[in-house]
């Protein structure tokens, strides 16, 4: 079970009214390497992975939901007061036609989220390598979004999220190290 804390993992500030940024940000909401995909991937894989690394998948999977919430807050702030005309100007006309100003799980190109974005191969190494790749892809996505954004407050939050991807990748890499370790072999630091 989960315990919900009614606050964001990192404060979300958006200082300029630029709904176009929401169009990019939605990639991390409902895209292939976005936070929803990450959370669902890890929390599902953990059932069939050696018990030494289950806790890691639970922890990171849970944190991804906290990231999802931050992205949702950013998108919401950028679009909640946008008129149909502003939505159109931001390239969100197709979104508006289908969803008004509601959030939805699709990527920056409007493709709805699909479970085919994630995998559970049942092979611990294959699954963890997918997870490492997913973290690096999410890191890169944050870079490209930051590159297109001139909102320093928004970028502050995105920078935090990108740093977390670095840490997640590190921990998944360590999980691989744990699983490939030979029995009875002494470890020296």
């Amino acid at each position: 079970m989960w315990v919900y804390e009614k606050k964001l993992q990192y404060p979300v500030r958006v200082s300029s009214c630029n709904p176009k940024l929401a169009k990019f940000l939605i990639e991390q909401y409902g895209g292939a390497d976005g936070e929803l995909a990450a959370a669902l991937r890890y929390l599902n894989q953990r059932y069939s992975i050696p018990d030494k690394v289950i806790g890691l998948l639970t922890d990171i999977g849970t944190e991804e939901f906290a990231h999802l919430e931050m992205i949702a807050t950013m998108v919401y702030k950028l679009t909640k007061d946008a008129t149909p005309d502003q939505m159109k100007a931001a390239g969100l006309d197709a979104h508006y036609a289908n969803h008004d100003n509601a959030l939805f799980y699709h990527n920056a190109g409007g493709v709805p989220w699909t479970a085919t974005y994630i995998q559970a191969k049942g092979d611990p190494i294959a699954d963890l390598y997918e997870d490492i790749a997913a973290e690096e892809k999410a890191r890169a996505t944050y870079q490209w979004i930051i590159n297109m954004s001139d909102d320093p407050d928004l970028n502050d939050g995105l920078r935090f999220l990108r740093e977390r991807e670095i840490i997640h990748s590190q921990r998944f890499r360590e999980a691989v190290e744990i699983l490939k370790e030979e029995r009875d072999k002494k470890k020296f630091f």
């Binding site: 990192y10 890191r139 670095i166 840490i167 990748s169 360590e174 630091f189």
Partner: protein
Amino acid sequence: MNTPRKTWHPYVSPFDPCKPITVKTYSTPPNLYMGFQPPGLEQFTPMQALRTGTLWKAFYDPWYSPYEKAREGQQP
């Protein structure tokens, strides 16, 4: 000490339609080099850790947009 960015020089054709970008940069964050995290790494203060997204200085590798004045590698 590993550098968090690498550069390479893509081929430039005499017939490129757009002004060629001669240097491309990509990110090589610290997690690529660390292996298992060794004990005793230097930590940020709790306040700094909350801001940067990591407790460990060795993993701090911020990314700035070209629009931002902040320079890469600045301390939190």
